[in-house]
Symmetry: C2
Subunit: 387 residues, 2 copies
Amino acid sequence: MKITGIAERVVPIKSDIRNAFIDFSQMTVSVVGIRSDIKRAGKPLIGYGFNSNGRYSQSGLLRDRFIPRLLNAPPAALLTDGGENFDPAKAWDIMMANEKPGGHGERSVAVGVLDMALWDLVAKIEELPLYRLLGERYRDGQVDEEVFVYAAGGYYYPGKDLGALQAELKTYLDMGYTTVKIKIGGASLDEDRRRIEAALAILGENAALAVDANGRFTLKQAIAYAEALEAYDLFWYEEPGDPLDYRLHAALASITSLPLATGENLFSTIDAQNLVRYGGLRPERDFLQMDPALSYGLVEYLRTLDMLAAHGWSARRCIPHGGHQFALHIAAGLGLYGNESYPHVFQPFGGFGDDIPVQAGRIQPPQTPGIGMERKADLLPELERLF
Amino acid sequence: MKITGIAERVVPIKSDIRNAFIDFSQMTVSVVGIRSDIKRAGKPLIGYGFNSNGRYSQSGLLRDRFIPRLLNAPPAALLTDGGENFDPAKAWDIMMANEKPGGHGERSVAVGVLDMALWDLVAKIEELPLYRLLGERYRDGQVDEEVFVYAAGGYYYPGKDLGALQAELKTYLDMGYTTVKIKIGGASLDEDRRRIEAALAILGENAALAVDANGRFTLKQAIAYAEALEAYDLFWYEEPGDPLDYRLHAALASITSLPLATGENLFSTIDAQNLVRYGGLRPERDFLQMDPALSYGLVEYLRTLDMLAAHGWSARRCIPHGGHQFALHIAAGLGLYGNESYPHVFQPFGGFGDDIPVQAGRIQPPQTPGIGMERKADLLPELERLF
């Protein structure tokens, strides 16, 4: 069993949305395929991966550092001890050979893309949807057949008024979502308060609203927003400050009853550990959003979950960033709280299988072997173009 | 005044050395030139930069993210308010537009390369060596005319015995260095003890030895080494554990009298702030090695120095990693303790001007306008090939 080729392409995901911190107009995604010599129906099995949004242009890192290490490894070094399948943990060690410690960013995305493709391939070889494979390996066969998903939207964009915001959120409710998220911090507190009230007016009794400041606030601003936000019954208050400012989070958690959420910009187990050690977050109330695709993949995410358990944090407090099917399988297989979803944006990468509806805020993972990326009609051509 | 072009090339720095963590056999360096429309002697002034060793293949990030932002900016947006020169701080904000917080690695190197080239250009336009420009701008005109440098070597490589280690260190003493560094942690404690004793035997009374574990140890191992190392009068004990494991550093600092050094793999002000907040290091004894070239450049390093001062740390506790002339100017201009030097390795990028000797462990910065990279004969052709 061996890898017969690794292909990488860069695909644009242009969009005119923006959050409090960045816009996405120049953003691209690296798509990779790892082709094996294992055949099904006469065709070689290929594992696919793509990077989660937020960082981009990892091509150089992929082509010059991480792909050559996989291709240059002796084929057996990438396999389980019995040789029955590829072993993503061994592949991880090979990819990270000669990498210095610390400085976890960008390369964590490049490795995450390849790790995603490897897990897709591994599950295809076992002819299991990835979440079932994960349940068998790591949870005594238990899986969640449905996963909580929330619709992340409410971006700022030019000319968008409160009516447009409400219309956008209405589309999420119509799709079956019961929890939606809007951006804050890209406008004044007064305007954000009006946006929140407009959102809550549409959501009614049976739906919940989360707000996301994208790491923009100083401690003073974060506290001022917290005081204003406590008037509303919010699902969470996300990324109030710089994700590495643990003291800010500890201070904020000590004075607000609002559930806090953070972690999407912490790209390694040890960064997440520092958040847990120093960030003062509350394991019964707060949420952790580390994104396996941005953070060295599932091999590292398994270590993160172990680290969290050792610090008294349940996997049920984790809702990964990114809105990709990889994290959907991880949530279902490993028993996370849920997963993010971008129903309209980051296409063709955002969202889940075309034919799988969200019902009462929950969705089933695809039953296809692997991750099931092929079940998104607009994503399939991007995958097929790789080889 | 405007930028008329930015060129980038990838140059190998192959070598068969290795430290406790990585080898360098595949490593490359990105070299950039930023060409202006300002002419001296009929030729356009060009600022040069290259990335410090340890991370590589930033081409994609440079070409797809950071260089286009500089080239697409309105020319005046990159200039001081009076338009007399380029303003690296404004350029920094433009490069980092649309970048999310957190995850400081790789992109910090790409930005650092461009920042280095901008400062080289700015100093050339003012016709000052960079250290003088920095002294004028940030230290009331004061500069250090000589900078402490130490020779970083003592790498492991195949077949290298104690005699070869001693011969290597002897070459540093012959070159004028009085402090040398060797790697530890890539062999057993017993073997490392023999290497240390062999080194000390060569160094004698008037020279000092630092040791570097490259972040390899667990807390238990770090403590075991500390106990063994206390028998020797060492200059410092560098990177005992993972650079992000602040608790390890705090524990170690609480039980050893050895000076500790770390920071070369912390790539932003906020990461360095976490080290200072949580790492328990001792401002009167320990050393900080953040490398401006790996860490978003001098614009960010100025913020780091301000942050350190606010936490009671003098710039005199800083000795940057990297062994490049950029940090040599920063050390001389901003009053750091000193700078690293790689006399034999990472060529043609390691080391300082060909015609500037090390004397009694100190070296003068070059008097050439800018950083003076052109004064390394083997580096000059790599620079001239850019345009």
